[in-house]
Symmetry: C2
Subunit: 361 residues, 2 copies
């Protein structure tokens, strides 16, 4: 989506309200409901989506007016940003929106939670993502591999960036994929595994791209993975530890999360492949001594995750979770170092990919 | 230091122990003491240093043997890494060291804390840093600006990397600075400020380099800043929020920390300049409404920091802290957005640098 389209959507909101005022109607916004009651797993698309319920928000309503004004203020900020072609972080937009209404002591927002919510409402009302409105999430993550991209007029070859790689920006909407020689993408949960693969030049040996953020993938990273998957049909492999947190990271990449249900379609990758450690690997690679026992929180988390709709009726995943519980503990990818410094790169990953030994579609 | 030198230092440790055994002496290691009693602020160098106290560690001593063996195991891991020219993270080395001693149920290490300590002891004994021993810290951070570096055979122009920049590796020892057109470096505490400066092309307008990690600078970032400062005489400016955490980040960059006292000389930058928000800025830029009140922890932290030896006798810094206390709260750089989207880049930074309005030497 180009900047003009996003600007057009913002303008539509303003025009509608101006019309309400001209016609002497109480100005209203139709805001899709973001409660759990309006969120569901769509088996057809394979991800969490928002239902069709909307709520009316009125300007002349004491209970609505604060949120109403905040949403309009968020729209004004987005309009400013789109006009000058600049971006701001959520925190920065908060400070811009923390304006004192002239002649009063009242700030439009007092807490960042309010501006965050207003921006999410604006995403819902306009159908335009925060990133497209020039409001950025956190920056985090590195990339390397067989691809040349174009960004801000620079041509960047991800195979020629030394030991560091390319630093992934918070907003990847404007990146162009110029030349893609990669056959797939490996997303690693941790920077240590990324550095392992990079030093061992896995991306060169296997013709691929390697990406990491830190733990839960940022919105920028998720969108980048999705774009590579959709625009270039690259399979995405997720390399995580064998623990509830690793499985959750995979799950969010696969099907989205409740909090971001309204944006699943721009982030989720239903056929993402789990390349992380499995309970079978623990036996195969003799990692039993590196087990770290589950605590109460791990067990509770595991129970929640295995009951997600996309795992609940999947026999392979239920078997996976049964074996995880039987192990009574978690195992980290770093434990593979006990088998050899470059075991992950030289054996684990190539074998799994060659033998199609991943979990997923 | 080249790989061979590091290998030589490791070998020295082994040769000495072999000699002890040949001569039928109890094998011993001389380990510099890392307790507070052996740490002090060196006014001449301007940073925290380790004193000269050492302790003898014996192999035939029930209280010493576990640590003794761990240190030797760390040396063996470093030797392996140096020989094959590969690197591992601290976590990965832990798993390599977690070896079961043949014929027993005893692991050389059971917790990462043990392997971390053993590696630090090895740094102390050999005088070679962890990074030079091919054991890496965490990877985090981005860079952009007027410099071309060489790394792993790649030539990387930090001014041609799109919106993302270069992702800083955990280990920057082998990077070569090929062409430096920058006049100084700005280190930002947060990625959001880095993206602000990058989008506004501050590094181009002011001929500089911009670097960020996330909060406390990683060892890799600190070493990179120090190398740019020492090898190219570039002044380093630190851009942080006005709060005890921001002041602490500056303080560690300046003088080091107690935990890393043995490595200060490779990390500390005594004449680093504070470019962060000051209490005077709060008045000057009318940021009073964005004050976030200090809590008990903030106040305690502030009291500790202002009593650090390098701040205690510095009138300018004591005045700074007095005014901070009088404000009774903290202010974030992001609040400058209330003055204009690009205020930080177009006004705040250029003015401060032009008017030498920083704190430091």
């Amino acid at each position: 989506m180009v900047r003009d389209e996003a600007k057009g959507k913002i303008k539509l909101v303003g025009t509608k309200l101006a019309k309400d005022i001209e016609d002497a109607r109480n100005p209203t916004l139709d805001v899709p409901v973001r409660a759990l009651s309006n969120v569901s797993y769509d088996t057809k698309s394979g991800f969490i989506t928002l239902g069709t319920k909307t709520a009316k928000r009125f300007f002349f309503n004491v209970a609505h007016v604060r949120k109403f004004v905040q949403t309009i203020e968020a729209a004004a900020s987005a309009k400013d940003l789109l006009e000058v072609g600049k971006h701001l972080s959520l925190r920065e937009v908060f400070y811009r929106m923390k304006r004192t209404i002239p002649g009063t002591q009242i700030n439009v927002v007092d807490e960042q939670e309010e501006s965050n919510k207003a921006i999410e409402d604006l995403e819902l009302i306009t159908g335009v993502s925060r990133e497209q409105l020039h409001i950025n999430a956190n920056k985090n993550g590195s990339a390397a591999g067989k691809i040349i991209i174009e960004d801000k007029g620079d041509s960047i070859d991800w195979s020629k960036l030394g030991s560091g790689g390319w630093s992934i920006p918070s907003n990847v909407e404007d990146i162009k994929f110029k030349k893609v020689d990669a056959k797939f993408v490996i997303y690693a949960e941790k920077a240590a595994e990324w550095e392992r693969m990079h030093e061992d030049r896995v991306w060169e040996k296997l013709s691929c791209i390697i990406i990491a953020s830190q733990g839960q993938a940022t919105r920028g990273v998720r969108r980048l993975l999705q774009r590579l998957h959709e625009e270039h049909k690259l399979p995405i492999y997720v390399l995580v530890d064998l623990d509830p947190w690793g499985t959750y990271i995979y799950s969010v990449l696969r099907s989205g999360s409740i909090g971001l249900a309204h944006i699943s379609e721009r982030l989720a990758i239903p056929d993402v492949r789990y390349l992380g450690l499995t309970p079978d690997d623990v036996k195969k690679y003799d990692l039993g001594k590196h087990l770290i026992r589950f605590n109460e929180i791990d067990l509770k988390r595991l129970e929640q995750i295995r009951n997600y709709p996309w795992f609940k009726d999947d026999k392979r995943w239920q078997g996976f979770f049964d074996k995880m519980l039987a192990l009574k503990g978690k195992v980290e990818l770093a434990a593979l170092t006990s088998k050899g410094i470059t075991f992950l790169s030289d054996k684990y990953i190539p074998d799994k990919i060659k033998n199609k030994d991943w979990v997923g579609d």
